[in-house]
Symmetry: C2
Subunit: 575 residues, 2 copies
């Protein structure tokens, strides 16, 4: 492709409205333009990358035995009413009426449509398992779209749905998808991690997220420094500290702590480490039935630890989703305010985090405003309590896999695989005749890849101050061919055109920058666009029948004989 016949659309200035680096660089490199909030046109450079990502995803899905279908973006409300999500989903589900005032939605996902299809098409266990996927445009009416295509309203996804009659069969397809996703992200050339994920409110039994690692990532991921263990920080188990709890040495004592509102205040006042000050949080207890009055539960953690709300709301004693009691509710139950609570003499059930339960001679609120207790010891001073994993892990915690310590890194979620179970198949009565000739509801898995989001994540991970650094596999062009002052030198032009013809004939994707621009402008644009390999044709090197090669990522330069360029590039791009 010659630049003069292409739409480069690079921008020098950093766009004011872009917050993250990938958004800025996608705008500056001429990949996308905003049409409306959260909606983008992909310019030619953006489309080239998008199609490459799409193709790699398609190939690996096919290889893993998934079969491609294509469902409509507009979906009838009836299916969403049948699954129950018409009422459950908030305004993110964009609803509208057609000319006959029938209700429709713009599909943010396709569980309903695919389950409806499969219940009509599949009648026998002999046709299972089945794994259907599509690469298709989705719409999610985000309240606050941002970060460019990272959190857009309209976006391209690969979504797959599998159908089974047994958990074993589901697990097999799940494993195949896990492997396919590893293959996809490896082929894309990205540093990624599969991460154990929370299955959330949907239920389901098993879930992994695939994260592209990047310092700017939204999500925190806990890794073992000695094994493959990786989990979403919400999911990572905090083990109980090793060894026996130290024996009690101090007596229980009450101290006045006026004006000490926080754990930090108390620690400072008493000149103790925050780890020795416990904190007590009061939340709604789970109700036995809807009509029972609301009761409360106390959660106790070390002062230097953070409550993990997802862990807490999974406890049978605690209401899900988690609700914190108000100050009024707390005072009514405990007769002290939030700053002075503690497990000693607590009139409501007490659940203690594993690490807090390992403390001895610790400090807690006295359940009396303005007072704390010191020298507190479990079992001696508090008899009735239970222990659970309640906290977020922190760096240095022992890895729950048993090997190494946890390290926290940041990631961008680009894929998600999920054992759905019967959530949708039950609601839509999607079953088949099993081997015994009986009607049986199918069990399902679903597997998503954010195709357009991958582009942003790849840039967050691969860029420098000059612009994007594409992995070879998804670069818009493989090679930038840059002649120096071609419009003044017939010799340069002839040599460059010859190289261009040779390289394209050999199957390389070359962007030949034939614009009448200063070399500096061309170098800057090619670097900004992140083209991984550059070849510069200049007068002086031409005297030696050579051109200069530059690697975008390493910055390394080398001289190549003009006659050996095609071979050299084949070698570099095969790597």
């Amino acid at each position: 492709m010659r630049s003069s016949q292409y739409l480069l659309s690079t921008i020098k200035e950093t766009p004011a409205d872009a917050e993250v680096i990938s958004h800025k660089l996608m705008l500056r490199a001429g990949m996308i333009r905003r049409v409306a909030s959260g909606m983008y046109t992909y310019l030619p450079t953006g489309v080239r990358v998008l199609r490459k990502v799409e193709q790699i995803v398609r190939e690996e899905m096919n290889k893993a035995g998934a079969i491609e279908v294509l469902m409509p973006m507009v979906q009838p409300a009836e299916l969403w009413q049948e699954s129950g999500r018409w009422d459950k989903m908030d305004a993110e589900l964009l609803r509208f009426k057609d000319r006959h005032t029938r209700d429709f939605v713009l599909g943010p996902t396709h569980e309903e449509v695919i389950t409806d299809l499969v219940r009509r098409e599949i009648t026998s266990y002999k046709q299972l398992p089945l794994n259907l996927y599509q690469i298709q445009t989705k719409f999610r009416d985000e309240r606050r779209p941002r970060f460019g295509v990272m959190r857009a309203r309209e976006f391209l996804m690969k979504d797959a749905y599998s159908f089974h009659l047994s958990q074993d069969s589901l697990q097999q397809t799940y494993n195949a998808m896990y492997q396919a996703y590893c293959n996809i992200f490896s082929r894309l050339g990205l540093d990624f991690r599969p991460v154990l994920a929370d299955t959330g409110a949907i239920g389901g039994s098993m879930s992994h997220e695939f994260h592209v690692l990047a310092a700017s990532g939204e999500d925190a991921i806990a890794f073992s420094d000695e094994s493959d263990y990786a989990a979403n920080i919400e999911m990572a188990e905090a083990l109980a500290p090793q060894g026996e709890r130290a024996a009690a040495k101090q007596d229980l004592a009450e101290v006045a702590t006026p004006n000490a509102k926080t754990v930090a205040d108390v620690a400072t006042l008493l000149q103790q480490d925050m780890a020795l000050v416990s904190k007590t949080l009061i939340v709604y207890a789970a109700k036995a039935d809807d009509k029972a009055p609301q009761t409360l539960v106390a959660l106790v953690l070390r002062g230097d630890h953070e409550l993990n709300e997802i862990k807490a709301e999974k406890l049978p004693q605690v209401q899900s989703p988690l609700v914190f009691a108000s100050e009024e509710e707390i005072r009514a139950a405990i007769s002290a305010g939030p700053g002075s609570l503690g497990p000693v003499g607590m009139p409501i059930p007490v659940i203690v985090d594993r690490s807090a339960a390992h403390l001895s001679d610790f400090i807690c609120g006295a359940n009396k405003d303005g007072y704390h207790l010191t020298g507190v010891n479990w079992d001696r001073d508090i008899k009735d309590y239970s222990v659970a994993d309640l906290r977020n892990i922190v760096e240095g915690d022992a890895s729950p896999c048993g090997k190494g310590k946890l390290v926290v890194k940041r990631g961008i979620e680009v894929g998600h695989i999920f054992q759905l179970g019967e959530r949708y198949s039950q609601a839509l009565k999607a079953g088949v005749l099993n081997e015994d000739g009986k009607h049986q509801i199918m069990t399902m898995g679903c597997y998503g890849v954010g195709v357009s989001r991958i582009i942003a994540a790849a840039i967050e991970q691969n860029h420098d101050e000059n612009g994007i650094i594409w992995p070879d596999a998804i670069a818009p062009f493989q090679i930038a061919l840059i002649p120096m002052n071609m419009h003044k030198s017939v010799r340069i032009e002839e040599a460059t055109v010859r190289l261009y013809n040779e390289l394209t004939a050999a199957g390389f994707e070359v962007l030949f920058d034939d614009r009448k621009e200063r070399p500096g402008v061309m170098f800057a644009d090619m670097e900004l666009m992140g083209i991984p390999h550059s070849i510069v044709v200049g007068e002086r090197n031409l005297d030696n029948l050579q051109v200069e090669y530059k690697n975008r990522r390493s910055g390394e330069k080398e001289m190549l004989d003009i006659s050996a360029v095609v071979e050299a590039m084949a070698h570099k791009l095969a790597k």
Copy 2:
């Protein structure tokens, strides 16, 4: 692909709700399923065909110098308000509000979005011409969607838009697109015709439709039997009959024609050919200004010819769009009813079709209820009239190209190229600095291909009583590999698996029907799906180390040595 690992979803019964053959066969062959009125899921077989069509279109667009972009399906109302189409378009334009109650549309086409993009990105004549295309999902809220994907609400289109500063430049790109479209439809293996089309109400100067010929086509197309001339029937010029008009022989005479309401009645009553009876239609005249009172015009045609409304409304004397006068309006102006009108003594302007103007001694209404005139002659009996091309051509008319006679065939429109001019660029003020440094509005072309519609059109053209007959280029699979009773014979299974591995290794797309089905069921399914080449592996032929080849289109069978199958298929598929 093995059938057992695929989703065949063929149906024996003809679906009741499908009206046209392509819709029936797409359902029966397991290509599509209805999700809602005018919305379909493409099953795996449908997707395979869709992706092939898409890829051929993409390759030919790229080859012709167009550059791929991707615009959102959801578009902000502001752009449609700016172009004026927000108000002009009826309910086909699906409008909705997002969560912030801002107005949006589901894009049925992208002139507004692309013109907005180009006015922001392109500033100088040096960046022109520019031809941008996308392959993207569109939504048109048809009042009555039907014929499956032929007239769906959600459909896949290739739409391209070109930008220029001169008519010459537009014409060049238009010609390139004309050629690209010929290449596309040739590669798809379809019998098609580019057809001169009406530019309609949008204005614009030049337009061609590309039609796939099929007896079931919606549109009538006029061809010359001796040249390349082809035009939409609305566009085909009806030439004046050759030679001098015959001299008048009869005297003008009035005859009573009571109860003769139609041309046919009059011809029967007077025992004359309908071609000798003229008919007179009264329509609204064009007004000089909005406040002038409405006046009328008489259009005179031969009784055996049909008025072409598009030709009529293009005349400067006639109001556009065409409005026929009511009986009251006619009686007020002429004092006779519609059944008794004629040009003799007509008090309003008379425009005569070229063929009617060539009549002598003809018959017309007497402008007096229940009476006609015979022996009527132009110039002698009617002095004041003008002549124009007013009628639809009929088979046998001389071709307007000067060569041969016109033949009428039916076609399905699958492509449309159009010189838009400044319709959108003017409304959106999309201009650049020209060579003189002055701001100049760009002129535009647009070029559409109905990607999903092509599939239906291809089937309308290529099918028989057993199902679809795919052209090689867009067949879901190239080869059907059918073992006879494989599940009872290890020898058959081994031979078939070996062939399957050889054929797929050689790059062929093979559907290996490994189902436990009777041979008859497998043959019927493979024929229904239209797979162009079949190879049947049977016990008896295997004794001679042979398999049977069958061509889906010709029905011809031949025996192939097992060792020569790959070579034979390479030969057949290279054709």
